[in-house]
């Protein structure tokens, strides 16, 4: 599904990723952990194609195709989705109109007709239910005045609507209370299946109690320094990252 090969990148002339290698197969859930400033969010942004990040070396392959040169929207069309750590507020555009535009533009890129209004409405209702979202939420301006929890829930709602092949969840658990965390995690689990993959970027083990990863990677100073199973996350929760620094 996704293969990252010796990826180096810079932002504003500063090197952030210094040779990341990562391989995620179809149907797998991977967690990425690491201390602040280690390059986790950068990795999410680079996978999504954020234009401020300059890839200086290495490649990203998605479905065996190099996507380094694809634009942000083109990567989305290929099936890459990122749940933002800080979703942007867009006044004047309702959640419904936004998601309709996103879905129909993606369909257009695949040579498909617009989804019919009734089908769209049905899908919106179904996915909103999945995330326990109030229907008036859908006619509100995108993220405007949303609480932290509502914003994250809205991200996963969009993921559920877009049905991506690869979802990159960038600190989706930050700012969530335990009830909201359960709803969000449950939404992710329900959407994940044998044909799609998930990358969960997090600081905390607690999210991984609900979204159980097949593999856990630790990034430090722009490199993957350790890969293990879910027990690695548990160990980090207890002892932190210092022991990895020494072994590095």
């Amino acid at each position: 599904m996704l293969e990252i090969d010796n990826l180096h990148c810079k932002i504003d002339g500063k090197s952030i990723l210094k040779g990341v290698n990562l391989k995620i197969k179809k149907g797998e859930i991977h967690a990425i952990m690491g201390p602040n400033g280690s390059g986790k969010s950068t990795l999410a942004n680079v996978i999504s194609g954020h234009e401020d990040y300059e890839v200086t070396k290495g490649s990203i392959y998605f479905d065996n195709k190099e996507i380094n040169d694809l634009g942000v929207d083109e990567r989305a069309h290929e099936g890459i989705f990122m749940s933002f750590q800080y979703p942007v507020e867009i006044p004047g555009v309702t959640v419904t109109n936004f998601i309709k535009t996103a879905i129909n533009e993606t369909r257009k890129s695949q040579g498909l007709e617009d989804m019919s209004s009734s089908q769209m409405l049905k899908k919106i209702r179904e996915k909103a239910n999945l995330l326990d979202m109030d229907s008036n939420f859908l006619s509100r301006s995108l993220n405007e005045g949303f609480s932290g929890g509502e914003k994250k829930r809205n991200e996963i709602f969009q993921m559920a609507m877009m049905e991506p092949k690869l979802a990159v969840l960038d600190e989706t658990d930050s700012g969530l209370d335990i009830d909201a965390l359960k709803i969000v995690a449950n939404g992710v689990v329900k959407c994940s299946n044998d044909d799609n993959s998930v990358i969960v970027i997090t600081h905390y083990q607690r999210l991984l109690d609900y979204i159980v990863p097949d593999k856990v990677h630790v990034i430090m100073d722009g490199k993957v320094v350790k890969t293990g199973n879910k027990d690695l996350a548990k160990k980090i929760e207890v002892v932190g990252y210092d022991w990895l620094k020494k072994s590095n």
Partner: protein
């Protein structure tokens, strides 16, 4: 001969075609004298600092048409809203066209000023209202007054609530020499009455004419007026719009100005409060490209206690277009408990686009709530990334953000088919059909 001299000289010829015994004529003559001494405004005038009329008044214009331009329904149809019933007052090259219009005298007057000036039954009303709210110190208003002859005349009597809106449509055929048009509209809405008005100035073919329009609006006690100005003229036409609104107690007047076209557009929009508990709303959406220039000059004079005014102007400027916002809120000493709010937000799409925004608050009362805010910026790059990461291509993402930005102006448009029309004008401007209306 300068165009100003031509205007002064041509007055004798103008006097040949009007009734000199009408008391209005004294008002005309006095206005001409004022225009003669004041002249056209220049950039030295504080209120004209960012907009120059020089290129416009250097040209020569005809003041009236010599031949019938022969304009039919098919020529003008697309510029009016036809999917709802409405009254229409249509002028072509400054001349009323009864065939294209739908006027009424049934329980209210929706007709033309020339009729109101010539018939004795209107004399009392004309004497009571004509030019009563127009200040003496605005030379373009004086110029319009001096040539008062034709325009819309709308008089809604006490407690009458017309179901249908009124469309005031001014067309230039472009078939004659460039014209200098000066329509004069008078709108009187009596106690407990209401009216919705859509006004549009449109050239039917490329032609560098100019319009110096003046509209007097009288909102009597507890009346409601909803006024929409659609400015989407071709890129060679110029418009100076002078609007003066007299509001009596408990009245509510809203003016929305959509400025999408034209070469140079200047809006002088003035509200004068004459009683308590008045509401005034001024909203504007400006979307320009090329070398277009739009100047919004607003005044709200809070002259009585307990009144409210809300101003919200938004602008999106591409290429080399220029926007000006000069919004003045004047709160007299007596006008305690005033709530006056003003907001002007602008987005510059291209490097060469320019905006001059100047809020002006003059407050002489001590127990008021007044605020103003002004921003000039670009589309939020992170917002664009967010939209694109959901598969929305660049052009559509820009359009969606622009729609979102414009939404606070659009959402208060109360005539659905007008809202739809404006939506489609915006889509066309953005080159994107998003498949939904806001």
């Amino acid at each position: 001969m300068s165009f100003q001299d031509k205007l002064l000289d041509s007055f004798i010829a103008f006097e040949q075609v009007i009734d000199l015994d009408n008391p209005v004529h004294t008002v005309r003559k006095n206005a001409l004298k004022r225009f003669e001494s004041d002249g056209f405004p220049t950039k030295k005038d504080e209120l004209w600092k960012y907009t120059s009329l020089k290129s416009i008044i250097q040209k020569d214009y005809s003041l009236s048409v010599k031949s019938n331009p022969n304009v039919g329904l098919k020529d003008i149809e697309k510029y009016s809203i036809n999917d709802i019933d409405s009254y229409k007052i249509v002028f072509v090259d400054g001349v009323f066209n009864p065939f294209l219009s739908n006027t009424t005298h049934d329980g209210m007057d929706i007709c033309v000023l020339s009729a109101a000036l010539s018939k004795t039954k209107y004399k009392k009303t004309i004497t009571k209202y004509f030019n009563k709210i127009v200040p003496d110190d605005q030379s373009l208003a004086s110029l319009n007054t001096s040539y008062t002859k034709e325009g819309a005349y709308i008089h809604i009597p006490k407690s009458v609530l017309p179901e249908d809106p009124v469309q005031i449509l001014h067309f230039s055929s472009g078939k004659n020499k460039p014209l200098w048009l000066q329509p004069r509209n008078i709108i009187i809405v009596e106690e407990n009455a209401r009216v919705e008005i859509i006004e549009r100035h449109q050239s039917l073919r490329s032609h560098d004419g100019a319009t110096n329009s003046l509209t007097e609006i009288y909102a009597e006690k507890n009346s409601f007026i909803d006024y929409y100005k659609i400015q989407n003229d071709i890129e060679t036409s110029n418009l100076i719009d002078n609007t003066f609104i007299d509001q009596q107690r408990d009245s509510n007047v809203r003016v929305h100005t959509f400025s999408f076209g034209g070469k140079l557009t200047r809006n002088n929009l003035n509200f004068y409060h004459k009683g308590e508990n008045i509401q005034s709303t001024l909203k504007g959406l400006t979307m320009l490209e090329g070398d277009q220039h739009v100047d919004h000059n607003t005044l709200v004079n809070h002259a009585q206690p307990n009144c409210e005014s809300h101003q919200d102007y938004k602008g999106i400027f591409s290429e080399r277009s220029v926007g000006v916002f000069n919004g003045k809120i004047l709160v007299d000493q007596i006008a305690q408990k005033t709530n006056a709010f003003q907001q002007n937000n602008n987005i510059l799409i291209d490097n060469k686009a320019k905006v001059n925004s100047k809020p002006q608050l003059e407050i002489f009362a001590d127990d008021v709530k007044c605020s103003h805010g002004c921003t000039i910026g670009q589309l939020d790059k992170e917002a664009l990334f967010y939209l694109k990461s959901r598969g929305i291509p660049d052009k559509e993402a820009v359009a969606l953000l622009t729609y979102g930005f414009a939404n606070s102006i659009l959402k208060s448009v109360n005539i659905p088919s007008l809202k739809k029309r404006i939506n489609s004008l915006i889509s066309k401007k953005l080159g994107v059909d998003l498949g939904f209306d806001l």
